[in-house]
């Protein structure tokens, strides 16, 4: 099937997917410039005119790795649907997943490799892949391996594994993998807390579907965090129990701002920003004092806590805290969920721990409706050994770049120039790097600093897999396959590195595969060697491969999540309190949040997502700043006034949105806009609140403490209407009349 070297054609097959339709692919991947146009007399398998086929693959719009099936009609991807067989999302999708199509067919995609005449000049000239690969080969082979750096973001596991192996083989430092999205969802804090308490470096999985009283602490599990589709599904099931005679699950949400996750909750409790841990401490104290706690192993953590004092600090009345503690303490299946904002300030690590401590107190570890630990995803040969980097690691890399210790910087799957606070200094440091090569599909704020952009395939054109790190009880190795032929002259990043490995002696032995499909097929054996009963047999590679493609990957038959076991003696909590930069001249705490539509900004070039109303404000296309009505009154600003939001680190302009459900000392801003590049739909609209952040880190976690700056609001005297779906007058009036439903 394959010939020598890189001159080859591959036939990639899919298998039938039960339920939807007979699915099989006849996609041909050509790494040659030469392409064969064949008349439809010679029909590619299963591509019938007028008939659609559905391909199972994995959504890569966020790292949750939902299984999707994509409807393909006459060789064009039409619709993203959920893969009902996939344990993470069980056939469901979110808006961002739907919009994956608009990455594939984005009018601003790079259509071929380009060279940039001067970094940042945006003067690109197309080059062909031979030249591109030659250049890459030359650069890698001629650069001192120690002076090569790879900076990646949300890179799928197979690419990461190949990269890690590649760089290890040529003696280069391991890739630095830093996802800004992961920082915004507080993943690292969750993992490290689990490691500290339960001795395993895995993410928590909350059995939301079976919980009956859920205390959520500033989380976004229904919008962008962890595995949003999974938790939405679980939330629906929690609520749905009432229709089958069961108890209706109740959610209480603590957060300075009524977020999208807070909206469907039964009660939103506004707290001072960064006091989630303190609320948890107070609740725990009361649970212990009242005898509602079911497991006192965590008691030492709450030693010396004065709940009444904390009630003052957190802005929640003591009586209310007590009532809440009672509700929680007397619930059948209580569950506490720490959210990203809890982990996003200096004391975030301890704060997350405090929340998890409530789960320990209520003894719900490994119980229905309780806290679980995700299956172990460290699998030799499948997942990388490289730890995701902390912000401190990124700073190290930036320092190396700045001091001229990096001669070749490779970038993929991340946009640090946009997503990291300017204080980290990424853009400045890039200037001192010898050569910069990006594999981005788009000209974004980071790849605009590259000398060459060698565009990779968009996810719907790519092969691969992702080992699901949270959001299901199974071990899921979610398969990714191209649903359409590459639309443009782009190349899979994995293929590029496998190709390079062929040419670079030390790497060839480690990466002997000619292309990513060969590599993926070889993984069937790795999975078989796990010895875990799975969704299909892996004895025969070709047969396994067919199931792999048809099912959208492999999953364990049995749940492999595990009950957490407290592994150490606990001591008194310390340092939970937040700390904010900026003195008294900055009266408000900046509360940035990932936009439920655009997330950390990656969705901004998808017109569907730009025009998808933000769930809470119904705003589109712009950046706004949310002010409590009282705050706005005191500032003398009204809705649609343009204000400057100024922090000690920078300033941005945003449109005022009077938000009735936000702590008066807090101003909130969504991420996602403020792009200077990234295509017609993204660039030149709104502002990027990351510009306001300093590089402050969370204690222990060493990740970005994005809830740590104070800001002031200065009216500009200008007004600009915020595009929104709601009618202002109507919504104001409706508050008096009530909900029409």
């Amino acid at each position: 099937m394959s010939k020598q070297g890189i001159t080859r054609r591959q036939f990639l097959q899919g298998t039938a997917l039960a339920g939807a339709a007979a699915v099989i692919s006849g996609c041909t991947l050509s790494l040659q410039k030469k392409e064969y146009l064949e008349p439809y007399v010679d029909m590619p398998e299963f591509a019938l005119p007028g008939e659609s086929v559905w391909y199972a693959t994995t959504c890569r719009e966020c790292p949750a790795a939902c299984g999707i099936i994509v409807r393909v009609h006459q060789g064009r991807a039409k619709k993203v649907e959920g893969n009902a067989m996939h344990p993470v999302n069980e056939g469901k999708t979110c808006a961002r997943g739907q919009a994956a199509l608009q990455a594939l067919y984005n009018p601003d995609r790079l259509r071929a490799p380009v060279a940039q005449s001067a970094r940042g000049s945006r003067q690109f000239t197309s080059i062909d892949w031979n030249e591109a690969l030659n250049t890459l080969y030359q650069l890698i082979s001629e650069t001192d391996p120690a002076r090569i750096a790879f900076f990646g973001g949300d890179v799928p596991d197979h690419v990461l594994w190949i990269l890690e192996t590649f760089f290890a083989a040529i003696g280069a430092p391991p890739p630095v993998i830093y996802s800004t999205h992961a920082a915004w969802e507080g993943k690292r804090a969750l993992r490290l807390v689990n490691k500290s308490l339960f001795g395993v470096d895995r993410l928590p999985v909350y059995d939301l579907a079976h919980a009956d009283v859920v205390f959520s602490f500033s989380g976004g599990f229904l919008s962008t965090e962890l595995s949003p589709v999974h938790y939405n599904l679980a939330f629906g099931r929690m609520r749905g129990r009432q229709d089958t005679g069961g108890p209706r699950g109740v959610v209480v949400h603590f957060e300075p701002r009524l977020s999208q996750t807070a909206a469907p909750a039964d009660r939103w409790i506004p707290i001072r920003p960064g006091t989630e841990g303190l609320v948890a401490l107070a609740l725990g104290r009361i649970l212990l004092d009242e005898g509602w706690a079911r497991n006192t192993a965590a008691a030492p953590f709450f030693a010396g806590v004065d709940a009444k004092e904390l009630a003052e600090v957190t802005d929640v009345e003591y009586e209310r805290l007590r009532h809440l503690a009672q509700l929680f303490g007397q619930a059948q299946a209580p569950l506490a969920i720490p959210g990203s904002a809890a982990a996003a300030h200096r004391g975030g690590y301890q704060a997350v721990m405090a929340v998890q401590m409530l789960n320990i107190l209520m003894d719900n570890l490994g119980k229905p409706g309780g806290l679980w630990l995700a299956p172990d995803t460290r699998i030799d040969g499948l997942t990388p050994k490289t730890e995701p980097a902390s912000l401190a690691d990124v700073r190290d890399l930036v320092e190396r770049m700045r001091s001229g210790q990096v001669d070749l910087l490779l970038l993929d799957g991340s946009n640090p120039a946009y997503g990291l606070p300017p204080e980290v200094g990424f853009v400045d440091a890039v200037a001192n790097v010898g050569k910069v090569i990006s594999f981005s599909s788009f000209v974004d704020e980071t790849s605009v600093w590259a000398d060459y952009i060698l565009p990779g395939h968009t996810p719907l054109e790519s092969w691969g897999y992702q080992v699901v790190d949270n959001g299901t009880d199974r071990l899921v190795i979610s398969a990714q396959q191209p649903v359409v032929r590459p639309y443009y002259d782009t190349r899979d990043v994995a293929d590029v590195f496998l190709f390079l490995a062929q040419a670079l002696e030390p790497a060839r032995a480690q990466l002997p595969w000619l292309n990513v499909v060969d590599f993926l097929k070889s993984r069937m054996e790795v999975i078989r060697n796990l010895g875990i009963p799975g969704s299909f047999a892996l004895d025969n590679v070709e047969e396994a491969w067919a199931y792999w493609l048809g099912n959208g990957g492999w999953r364990s038959k049995e749940p492999l999540w595990s009950a957490p076991v407290l592994k150490r003696e606990l001591s008194q909590a310390f340092n939970l309190a937040p700390e904010f930069e900026g003195g008294t001249e900055y009266p408000f705490i900046l509360y940035p949040y990932e936009s439920p539509t655009l997330t950390d900004g990656r969705g901004a070039n998808r017109p569907w997502l730009q025009e998808l109303p933000d769930p809470m404000t119904t705003a589109m296309w712009r950046t706004w700043v949310e002010l409590n009505p009282e705050t706005a009154y005191l500032l003398g600003v009204q809705r649609d006034d343009v204000v400057k939001v100024i922090s000690p680190y920078g300033e941005v302009e945003a449109i005022v949105y009077i938000y009735p459900a936000i702590h008066p000392h807090v101003v909130a801003m969504p991420l996602g806009q403020g792009h200077t590049d990234y295509g017609r739909y993204a660039q030149g609209r709104g502002a990027n609140p990351v510009q306001l952040l300093g590089g402050r880190e969370v204690d222990v976690v060493k990740d970005l403490a994005w809830l740590s700056v104070r800001v002031k609001i200065v009216p500009t005297g200008r007004r600009q209407r915020l595009p929104r779906l709601e009618n202002n007058a109507g919504v104001d009036r409706a508050r008096e009349v009530g909900f029409p439903g």
Binding site: A729, G730, A734, P740
Partner: protein, 481 residues
């Protein structure tokens, strides 16, 4: 008809006064009147040309360029949106339909009750109807998303033998307007025939003679012609009144048949009819003052006409106020939530309240203040002011009924906001210009005064000496058996 030789000097004065007061007593030879009316018709001055070209330019700008632009790009160039799907186009439509009620309906009513003073004004009034209907009839086309498919609304089946939906108030509308336009055109044309024959007989221009020969159908004035014209006019008079009433009722049903809070009202039918006559009479007063001034028809159009029109206007002011208040009060009392929303929006201190108050001022206060006194009614500029005020008020009323009402609904989240776009404004100006232009052109094509009817009236009116003074009398010629 007393002989002047024997008349007492005081009586001569009385006669003068009577003649001044009533055109029909102030008899002049027919020939003189014919030539006067024809001269006014045939005089094409530079001013007239400038006005006509200016109006033509506005029509071109509004109805060719702006409308063409809208057809090319789509209705998005208008200010309408969701939920305000109907905007000034429909307001204009209702407005012009209203104006159309001035002419034919008023003329028919006056004819039917034998109001003799109507004679010099019916032509001018009926022409208004026809032109206003033409303008109004354009608006559904302008308003349509796919204007080029307007003929799908005509009553014929498509290739699958599907007919239009005759249950749609829009179909009713179309049929009613068609009937009314047909009726009004004929109603204008029939009494015009003898005057067309007159122009044919006495015009010096060859082309005009030829044209008018065709237009007058070879009218000579035989007994059969007069007799049947008379009967036909009698039939039309009584047919056109219910048709006119039905037209604006059906226009109101475009709204009243709906589900929209603020539209669903049983009083809309008569309310609209009254409003239409109200705005129509207001416009008629303005038109008469203009015709009188610019055509030099001071002899024909006198204070007596303005006075009478003014009285009708005043009556209609009260009618309209009564109907408006009737609707407003019942809705206020019902306190339906969605209607509360609407009322908050357009009254008290709501954003649309200025429109609402302006409507009440221009529709009630100003007309009453002016029309209360005879001086107000008979002073041309004052009665024009009242007429203009009424039309501004009635336009505001339609504007409030259409886009303002649509801005509020049962789902506060989905309320709307409407501002007319430049295209809508240009088209509106274009259509107003078209109306005026058609009138200006008509004034140079046909006699704007029905001379034969005036003469007929004059023949029937006499001044008789009764006792010590002179009194006017009417010989009811047409009733001779």
């Amino acid at each position: 008809m007393s002989s002047e030789a024997t008349m007492h000097p005081d009586l001569a004065h009385v006669e003068q006064e009577l003649k001044a007061a009533d055109l029909l007593l102030d008899r002049r030879p027919r020939e003189e009147m014919n030539y006067e009316v024809m001269r006014a018709m045939e005089r094409i001055s530079l001013t007239w040309l400038i006005v006509a070209f200016f109006l033509g330019g506005l029509v071109f700008l509004g109805l060719v360029l702006a409308w063409g632009y809208q057809i090319k790009w789509g209705l998005g160039v208008a200010g309408i949106n969701r939920p305000v799907f109907w905007g000034v186009y429909i307001a204009n439509f209702v407005f012009w339909i209203g104006i159309s009620h001035a002419g034919t309906l008023i003329s028919a009513i006056l004819r039917s009750v034998g109001a003799e003073w109507r004679r010099p004004i019916t032509r001018a009034a009926e022409a208004m109807t026809v032109f206003a209907l033409m303008v109004a009839g354009m608006y559904p086309l302008i308003h349509m998303g796919r204007t080029w498919r307007f003929y799908w609304m005509l009553p014929y089946p498509n290739q699958r033998l599907l007919w239009p939906n005759f249950r749609s108030p829009l179909m009713w509308d179309m049929m009613a307007i068609l009937t009314y336009l047909t009726g009004s055109l004929i109603f204008l044309y029939l009494p015009l025939i003898p005057d067309l024959a007159m122009v044919r007989d006495h015009s010096s221009a060859k082309l005009r003679k030829k044209l008018f020969n065709i237009l007058s159908l070879g009218w000579r004035g035989t007994e059969a012609e007069w007799k049947h014209l008379h009967v036909a006019m009698a039939i039309f008079t009584f047919i056109i009144i219910p048709v006119a009433a039905s037209v604006h009722t059906i226009v109101s049903w475009d709204f009243a048949m709906s589900n929209v809070p603020g539209w669903k009202s049983t009083i809309f039918g008569p309310y609209f009819v009254v409003g239409a006559i109200y705005s129509g009479v207001g416009a008629l007063a303005v038109v008469l003052v203009m015709v009188r001034k610019f055509m030099g028809f001071e002899y024909y159009l006198r204070e007596q006409h303005l006075d009478n029109i003014g009285k009708i206007m005043l009556t209609m002011t009260f009618f309209w106020t009564y109907f408006w208040f009737n609707g407003y009060l019942t809705e206020w009392y019902g306190a339906e939530t969605a209607l509360d929303f609407l009322r908050e929006f357009m009254t008290y201190t709501g954003p649309a309240a200025p429109l609402f108050y302006a409507m009440l001022i221009t529709n009630i206060i100003i007309p009453i203040a002016i029309l209360w006194s005879r001086a107000g009614r008979t002073t041309p500029w004052m009665i024009s002011l009242a007429g203009i005020s009424i039309n501004i008020g009635m336009y505001l009323e339609r504007y409030i009924i259409v886009p303002v009402t649509l801005s509020r609904n049962r789902f506060p989240f989905s309320w709307g906001h409407y501002v007319p776009s430049p295209v809508e404004i240009l088209i509106s100006i274009g259509s107003l210009s078209m109306f005026i232009l058609l009138y200006v052109l008509l004034s140079r094509i046909v006699p704007l005064i029905s001379v034969w009817e005036v003469q007929e009236g004059q023949v029937m009116h006499v001044i008789r000496r009764v006792g010590r003074t002179l009194v006017p009398g009417v010989i009811q010629w047409h009733k001779a058996e």
